[in-house]
């Protein structure tokens, strides 16, 4: 048996209100390609951030044993000094610098007071050759494609004398051909003794390249599959990823499904920056009164973009298609019009797009419907307080007073404030984008109860979620989206995690 290069023992990492990792174990042998798979939010990236020192020693429990010794990394530089290099999903390259400059950024050649450009470019050329990239080191990053940029990242890692290379979704933005080239490069490096950990959703790639596969689910290691021992088929991996029973984690509700409330036809939207790229591609769907409809899919499938482009065209360019509410065609060109048509979009990014953290719960609650608490645009502060306090009680938001700043609340309570804000706008149709992301099980249950209450009042709910159990547990009907298209529609009775996954994989 080969030498164990890395062992992560009983790693536990908690964020305020959530346990992201619980007693995770991972063993990586020298010279192997080890794949980490799991659903979105299972904890793969968190684990790698612990390893690379982004979450410094002391903020997690457990031990990292690397090359026979226990490591205590305080920052990324510490882990890089040992040869552990992580390449993140979002490329960390500066577009207006050359390949050479990027490759040695923070690791400049020459002396402190004078960068040696000749050495920089010469070395860069050497590493570029190593990864098989035929470009001059003096070309600007913005002038080469994403596939080549990914190779530059790898060359940059090699320039840091990587012994253990960690790749987070390296092929997510690459096409088939570039992906294959990248994977073959990893296999080539393996021959030279490099160890890699690869995180990927693309299971065919994982079974192609990996020697071992570790499955992570809900922050726990489930199993490690070995190429020589176990079945490496996609079906087998999926079973590991999703194989869990849905217990009583979802409150029951009586169904009273009515007529079609919202119907979207041939909806298409383009990327706001890359004008040729279709992000939402000819999408058709509908939702009925009193119905919870789920939209399932992987990250980057275009679900958020679909929702935001519907919500007053707040995302995308060249949007086309038709929207019908109660059978009548409506046009919503601004968020204000969307709200006037009784539509609400509850964002997935509550801190970035949803709430004003530096201000009070009260202000946030009423922001989308100030008319309700004002007359002739003068705010009645008593009425505003009463309204916010009412929602605080209704949604049991835990806080001393609604005058408290939202920034001080826990994730679950923030989410409730965000829901309160949109419920206060009295919509008929609510689009909930990842409504339970990053909040604990108890708060999730409360959010599900609120959703049931909304549909009981005859409202329509569209839930976008990457967590399949909640999609299956809560929805009456499920749409599956992949790469901007609707690739399947399942009734709750026929839906299963395997069915959804296979729809996604077939379409991909």
């Amino acid at each position: 048996m080969a030498k164990i290069l890395l062992e992560m023992r009983d790693i536990t990492k908690t964020f305020p209100g959530v346990k992201a990792l619980s007693n995770v174990n991972l063993k990586v042998e020298e010279g192997e390609i080890h794949a980490l798979v799991g659903e979105n939010g299972a904890g793969k990236s968190t684990l790698m951030n612990v390893l690379s020192g982004i979450y410094p020693y002391g903020t997690y429990e457990g031990d990292i044993v690397y090359d026979g010794e226990v490591c205590k990394f305080n920052k990324i530089k510490d882990s890089e000094a040992k040869g552990i290099v992580i390449i993140h999903q979002e490329l960390a390259l500066v577009p207006y610098m050359t390949i050479g400059e990027n490759m040695f950024l923070g690791n400049e050649r020459g002396s402190k007071f004078r960068i040696n450009w000749n050495e920089t470019n010469e070395l860069a050329a050497k590493y570029l050759k190593m990864v098989g990239l035929n470009e001059s080191p003096q070309v600007l990053i913005k002038d080469i494609g994403v596939g080549k940029q990914q190779l530059v990242e790898i060359a940059k890692a090699m320039a840091k004398n990587a012994r253990l290379l960690i790749l987070d979704e390296p092929t997510a933005s690459l096409n088939e051909e570039d992906s294959r080239a990248l994977l073959d490069l990893l296999l080539k490096f393996k021959q030279n003794g490099l160890t890699s950990i690869i995180i990927s959703h693309k299971l065919n790639e994982v079974s192609y390249v990996a020697d071992k596969i570790t499955v992570i689910r809900d922050g726990c290691t489930i199993e490690t599959l070995d190429k020589n021992v176990d079945d490496f088929s996609e079906a087998r991996i999926i079973k590991g990823m999703v194989g869990r029973e849905i217990a009583d984690r979802f409150p029951k509700r009586e169904k009273h499904i009515g007529d079609i409330k919202l119907e979207v036809r041939n909806w298409t939207a383009y990327h706001p920056l890359y004008s040729g790229r279709k992000v939402v591609d000819n999408v058709n769907f509908n939702v009925r009164r009193g119905e919870i409809v789920g939209i399932s899919g992987l990250m980057g499938a275009g679900r958020t973009e679909l929702a935001m482009s519907l919500f007053g065209k707040s995302y995308g360019d060249n949007i086309s298609g038709q929207v019908f509410i109660d059978g009548k065609e409506v046009h919503m060109n601004t968020v204000k019009e969307a709200i006037a048509h009784k539509l609400a979009y509850v964002t997935e990014d509550r801190k970035g797009n949803g709430l004003i953290l530096s201000n009070t719960i009260k202000l946030n609650t009423t922001l989308a419907n100030l008319e309700e608490v004002s007359s002739h645009s003068v705010i009645d502060k008593d009425r505003e307080f009463a309204a916010a306090d009412d929602y605080r009680k209704k949604l049991s938001i835990k806080c001393p007073s609604v005058e408290q700043n939202v920034g001080n609340l826990s994730g679950g309570n923030m989410q409730k404030v965000l829901l309160a804000k949109w419920m206060f706008a009295t919509p008929d149709i609510l689009i909930l984008d990842e409504p339970t992301r990053g909040i604990d099980v108890g708060a999730k249950y409360e959010i599900y109860c609120i959703m049931n209450q909304l549909v009981a009042e005859g409202k329509s709910v569209i839930m976008i979620s990457s967590e399949m159990p909640e999609i299956l547990g809560m929805c009456d009907r499920i749409y599956i989206m992949n790469e901007g298209r609707m690739v399947g529609e399942l009734d709750a009775s026929e839906a299963s995690q395997e069915a959804i996954m296979s729809h996604i994989i077939k379409a991909g």
Partner: protein, 395 residues
């Protein structure tokens, strides 16, 4: 009072506490001369333009720490236009005032358009405005000074100079009766309004502060209002410019804290994306902030030429810095979304007191600038560090 309560109290009223301390310090250092009626009156008259500009600047800063560098030049330009109209073209005062306001607002709207709809960084647009309107002031005035001494009604209406006081209708002999009565009325009105607010809250069963702290606070503020009026009455009464300052504070204080428009300034500065997704037109918010700045710069322009009884191409220099400084000292956040009109006024008064105190002590004008600079830096350091909870940012 327990320790945490004391901490909370100091945190909430930091700037007022600092103001009182600084005032006390200068009262000692100047041997009490800063408390003389004439000096109290002068703090208002001298700094009228700061109060007006700082209020406008607050709206810009609220939208996300954005500043307007052009106000000093716009003050000068609008003043120059006004002086030219009144003195050389003999345009009646009312019409001149209207034209000045329109010109200021139009300049504001011009800059606001680029900032709000084309999203040119405010720093760049207003830097360009600062250069352009300084140049244009020179062009309008041909590089000369136009005296507006002869336009007595204008000077009396907007000025804070020698005779620009509201005439005393009651003669109490030696003391300005009108001013005294106004002071008493306002102090009483303040107590009544605060009491009314408290009673409605109690009636609706909302949380209220303890009766002791309420009465101490209310009576103290009423006493300050009265003491201030009494000092003014001992001098020559109410400077006319105080009316304009008072109106601006009242109107903008109300807009920022009680209206939906005011709310949108805070929302945009707090989180622009979230505000947009709440159905608020954020472009319009920027447009309003900078257009309004033009309007208030025009008012400050009138106040300036009335106080100095002339228009000169060099007027208004560094006015933007006074306004920006007052905002930050008064607790506005350099990142936007936080700050109040009363806070900014406290900041402006603090600056004014420091100016006046040092002048009375005969501190060299250059050293005064050094001190003002340090006070500004200290205020913003305090804001940033107290919010982060520790001294140094993560590298």
């Amino acid at each position: 009072m327990t320790n945490t309560k004391l901490l909370e109290f100091t945190k909430k009223y930091t700037m007022i506490i600092v103001l009182v301390l600084v005032f006390g310090l200068f009262a000692i250092l100047t041997g009490g001369s800063i408390l003389l009626p004439a000096n109290i009156s002068n703090i208002i008259s001298q700094n009228a333009y700061v109060f007006i500009l700082a209020t406008g600047m607050l709206l810009c800063i609220l939208t996300g720490g954005n500043i307007d560098l052009s106000v000093g030049s716009v003050v000068c330009f609008v003043g120059a236009v006004g002086a030219k109209l009144m003195v050389e073209l003999k345009v009646p005062m009312i019409l001149t005032v209207l034209i000045m306001l329109v010109v200021g607002t139009a300049i504001g709207a011009f800059q606001a358009f680029w900032i709000a709809y084309v999203r040119i960084p405010p720093f760049i647009v207003t830097l360009a405005g600062m250069l352009a309107f300084r140049g244009l002031s020179n062009v309008v005035l041909n590089g000369l000074t136009i005296s507006v001494k002869e336009c007595t009604s204008f000077v009396n209406l907007f000025g804070g100079g020698a005779n620009c006081y509201i005439p005393d209708v009651f003669n109490f002999g030696g003391i300005n009766g009108l001013c005294l009565i106004v002071g008493i009325v306002f102090a009483a009105l303040y107590v009544v309004l605060e009491l009314k607010k408290r009673l409605t809250k109690i009636k609706k069963d909302y949380e209220v502060e303890s009766a002791v702290s309420f009465w101490v606070k209310t009576v103290l503020i009423a006493a300050v209002i009265f003491a201030f009026a009494f000092r003014l009455a001992q001098h020559k009464g109410i400077p006319t410019v105080l009316i304009w300052v008072f109106l601006v504070i009242l109107i903008y204080g109300y807009i920022t804290s009680n209206t939906t428009v005011g709310r949108s300034f805070y929302a945009v500065g707090g989180n622009e994306k979230a505000t947009k997704l709440s159905g608020i037109n954020t472009n319009k918010v920027y447009f309003l902030a900078y257009t309004n700045m033009g309007l208030l710069a025009a008012l400050a322009g009138m106040v300036t030429i009335a106080r100095l009884t002339s228009a000169q191409p060099t007027y208004g220099q560094n006015y933007e810095m006074d306004a920006i400084g007052s905002c930050f000292i008064g607790g506005a956040s350099a990142y936007g979304g936080i700050g109040t009109v009363p806070g900014v006024i406290v900041g402006a008064v603090l600056m004014g007191v420091i100016n006046m105190g040092m002048s009375l002590m005969g501190v060299d004008a250059n050293m005064q600038k050094v001190v003002k600079g340090m006070v500004l830096l200290a205020a913003v350091i305090f804001d940033v560090v107290s919010k982060r909870g520790k001294w140094f940012a993560k590298g």
